[in-house]
Amino acid sequence: MKVTVVGVRHHSPACAALVASVLEEVRPRTVLIEGPADFNPRLDELQLDHELPLAIYSYYQEGLGRSTRASWSPFCDYSPEWVALRKGRVLGAQVLFMDLPAWTRPFWGVSNRYADRPGLGYVEELGRRLSCQGLDALWDHLFEQPLPKEELSARLEAYFEAVRESEPAQDSDLEREDFMARYLAWAAREGPVVAVCGGYHKPRLEKIWPEVEPTLPALPNTEAGVRHGSYLVPYSFRRLDSFTGYASGMPSPAFYQAVWEQGPQEAGQRVTRWVAERLRKLKQPVSAADLVAARTMTEGLMRLRGHLAPARGDLLDGFASALVKEALETALPWEGRGLLAAGTHPVLVELVAAFSGERKGRLDERTPLPPLVADLDRLLEDYQLRPARPARRVEAPLGTEQSHLLHRLRLLEIPGFQRRSDEEWWLSMSPEFESAAIEAGAWGATVEQASRARLRELLGGVDGQLDLVAMLLIEAVQADLTDLSDELLAEVEGQVGREVDFSRLGAALGSIALLWRRNQEERFATLLGFMQDRGLWLFEALQGPTLPADPGMIAGVQALRDLNRFLPEAPLEIALPVMERKALDQQAPPAARGAALGYLWSFKESQTLEEQSLKSIRGSSRPSELGDFLAGLFGVAREEVVRLPNLIQAVDQMVSGFDDRDFLVAAPSLRMAFSYFPPRERESVARTLLRLHGGDAGQAWGMVHLKTSPDQLMRGHRLEQRVTQLMESLGLA
């Protein structure tokens, strides 16, 4: 047979070894590899003296300013594709990529060309039958054990045929296979061929290649105005690892690298050393006895599972058993896929990190520079924003193109661009400027694409912290990356769903609402609707009748109220009943009761509300409760309240009834409550009070106006700060 197709799992050391041995045996004239065919003229770049991992980064942009599709094809030393590339060349074969370019339709939405298929149906069933927990454990059990080559080939063949049958091919698979088959047919005319591709494609490829036209397929045309390209970027183990990547492939690259370099026995020892070092550096006790126990466990599991060499799961299970001495909150991360769940035991987090490794790739110096460097250069020239020495000041108000660019550079962490305020920046020349620009090239071909990719990555890293996510969203708008993909917004939505702190949610809601009012984009409205829903849920759960007023909480209710005012879609029929319940909830913090009342006031004027407020004011059982309640009420509805003399009168009566001690206790919260009024309204409150006590209403301004100068205030403020610092340093705070 002239054509040998090797079906592999990407990033599998066992498959890589198989590829090497098949190449030795067949000595093909042509080696075809599943990879972007448009990169073929530049394959020499891959043969340079790189340190792996690296990736072919491909991008595709439909006209300037439109969204970019980006895709990576990552390689490491033990990638079957990489072995084919290098070994094929050594054996004197013609080496070519044979798959469609990343900018064609089948790759839309695919960020990792070498990601795994989901593994449903057959794979799940097989896992159950062989008692393997998860796809990765199953794969290691079947294929990564020491096996004779023939046995490995036979297993791979049977496995992928069954997978192909149980997971129906999509149009994109067929389109790619048709393209690859043409390459096969074309190359087969000239001599023996070895083709390396995902095992899923092998059955159909072998079937159809003899029947297709044996000519080299032309690269698909792109529409006018479309920009696209591919280039090499350094990659890292961290990004390769399925636990942190979006489109996951084979996990734990450092471990498999060790398997590839030194065999599975030695890899087990090495990884044990990494784990011990890592945990000890963090001051976690790891005794020799623990390591022995882990080893014993691993060996027992190996024997039970019929493994000749320790598989990844055997090792990880062994460590977990020996090192974790308490109940876990989440399942062991290696039994599933995807990002680490919040609440994963810290020792498990470190285990996963040790198996994943820190290695970063480095490109040979002769590799052409990423286009980002040139793009950055041009942009800095065009907008006259080149950093200088000594540092210089630049004005770039929000919303200008300069400001967009500067915010993007900030996202890319290119040193030398410092933001002082919304419009003021300082530019300085940094020695790291150039290397940072090259590294940023991994994120994209242009500053715009790169900053978008970087932002997406950052979003992946902020788990559960809504305030950070909201900050990144605002960052995105300031950098004019508003065309965030749906995936990104879903991420934000996910964080909203997981948020448990009402104040934090309220803060994020406030800032995103502000953003929405500036740009009026539909999808922000949808997000806000979701946030409102979540906010109401969290607000209703607030408990604690003695809790002091929390400005963050009050701001949150304000934000909810404003949302209902400005966003017509936000439904009131859920919000109003929640607020009605909360206003009457005696177990709620007083400020929450006040805020709920204030909320209701903003939408309906009614006698009942006033009566309810009066009742709450008169019913305050503790001095500070009065101020807390008022803080909530004033914070949300001061415009409505300031017109009601009855209310001020009730407060006045209460305060008059305080003795000195009670007054001192009540003062801070009362003060906070009245700080929600601007000076003019405070004056009107003062006037009402003066009238009540028979004073001269004309004196009101003098009562609320401070006679101290701003300078004096600042000095006082600074003094206070210094005292606080001093107290903190002495441990008295």
Partner: protein, 360 residues
């Protein structure tokens, strides 16, 4: 001829399966074990080829680790929420490994060393002095002597000093009986002896465990069933069996079962639908609890109204199980019904919402 018992131990209940497995077992057995590790795995997780039923629904890697731990010199500690079938797993392991699951100590504040090691028949002790005859063995003594697994349920409910009795037994595998002389004064554990302890995470803090004891145990966390369909099927099957035992000839309608299992899962995980988080209830909402609620609903609706259960029965039963006596849980439950269930589509969800006032 055996008399009927309410609940026979696993080794009796599955005697035929164990026999069959023993006959077909070809793997090598650790010293003192009745089956090989592969055999134990088949017994617990089931094997279609030998027609062995699956008795524990869950993670196979967990079962692997548990067995390997038992085959080494460390004890096994199963931790997890109540109702996650820890005790079931420990019973199955003991039955399969040593053919006997009844060497069990139930932990509690009143457990003393005597109930773990041995005590004396005082009449004989006074009459004849200390001897093998006057010694009354406790489960650990028997397990060591016969080379079997001893089970220690809810170990953290025992006082620390009682827990620490286990220390030397686990590390030196020998029990000193100072009252007896000569060789009889030392009981060396036969191969096959080991310990399975269980503790539930809700009890953490009742009595912590000493670091020394922790070191001698491997911890395994047992999680609630992750797969919705699997849990649903389990609740359906088990509640049907219980209802039949109680003389109720009906089954829960599928949609009521769906509401029940979904509600339990959401309140248990603190996660509603896609991503929306809520405070978890402090009460335990295990699969076992779901089965008992389903059972209760069936009994209630059949004997009170002669009809199939509806979502209103669920609310009534929930106020008794999910909320128990914790007002915070009641509040969370009310909030769940008011804000989340309200938005659900489908008649049975609407019924559930309409019945919310039954919470009390």
């Amino acid at each position: 001829m055996t008399t009927q018992v309410q609940r026979p131990p696993a080794e009796k209940l599955y005697a035929a399966e164990l026999e069959k497995l023993k006959k077909h077992d070809q793997g090598s057995r650790p010293p003192g074990w009745e089956l090989s590790l592969q055999g134990v795995r088949r017994f617990i997780l089931g094997d279609a080829k030998l027609d062995i039923s699956a008795k524990f629904v869950g993670n196979s890697a967990l079962v692997d680790r548990a067995m390997v731990t038992l085959a080494t010199q460390r004890g096994l500690m199963l931790v997890g929420e109540p109702g996650t079938a820890k005790s079931l797993l420990s019973e199955l392991l003991a039955a399969a490994v040593s053919g006997r699951s009844t060497l069990t100590i139930q932990g509690g504040a009143s457990v003393t060393e005597d109930q773990i090691r041995y005590s004396w028949n005082y009449a004989l002790l006074v009459a004849e002095g200390p001897s093998q005859k006057s010694l009354v063995p406790a489960p650990v003594y028997l397990a060591m002597k016969e080379g079997r697994i001893v089970r220690f349920e809810e170990v953290t409910r025992c006082p620390l000093e009682v827990q620490d009795t286990l220390l030397s037994l686990l590390s030196d595998r020998v029990m000193a009986i100072p009252e007896l002389e000569g060789d009889e004064g030392m009981l060396f554990a036969r191969p096959g002896f080991n310990l399975i302890a269980t503790a539930n995470t809700r009890d953490r803090g009742v009595n912590e465990m000493s670091a020394a004891l922790k070191r001698r145990l491997n911890f395994e966390t047992v999680f609630p069933i992750a797969d919705y369909d699997v849990e649903m099927e389990l609740v359906r099957r088990e509640s049907k069996r219980l209802l039949a035992d109680s003389g109720v000839p009906i089954e829960l309608p599928a949609e009521v079962l769906e509401v029940l299992v979904t509600t339990f899962r959401e309140l248990r995980d603190g996660q509603v639908g896609e991503g929306h988080k809520m405070e978890r209830l402090s009460t335990v909402l295990s699969t076992a609890e779901a089965v008992s609620v389903a059972h209760g609903m069936g009994v209630r609706s059949w004997f009170l109204r002669q009809e199939k259960p509806n979502p209103a029965d669920l609310v009534e039963c929930l106020s008794g199980t999910a909320a128990k006596d914790d007002p915070d849980d009641l509040r969370r439950l009310r909030q769940y019904l008011e804000q989340r269930v309200k938005k659900r589509k489908g008649r049975h969800w609407k019924d559930l919402y309409e019945a919310r006032h039954l919470l009390g």
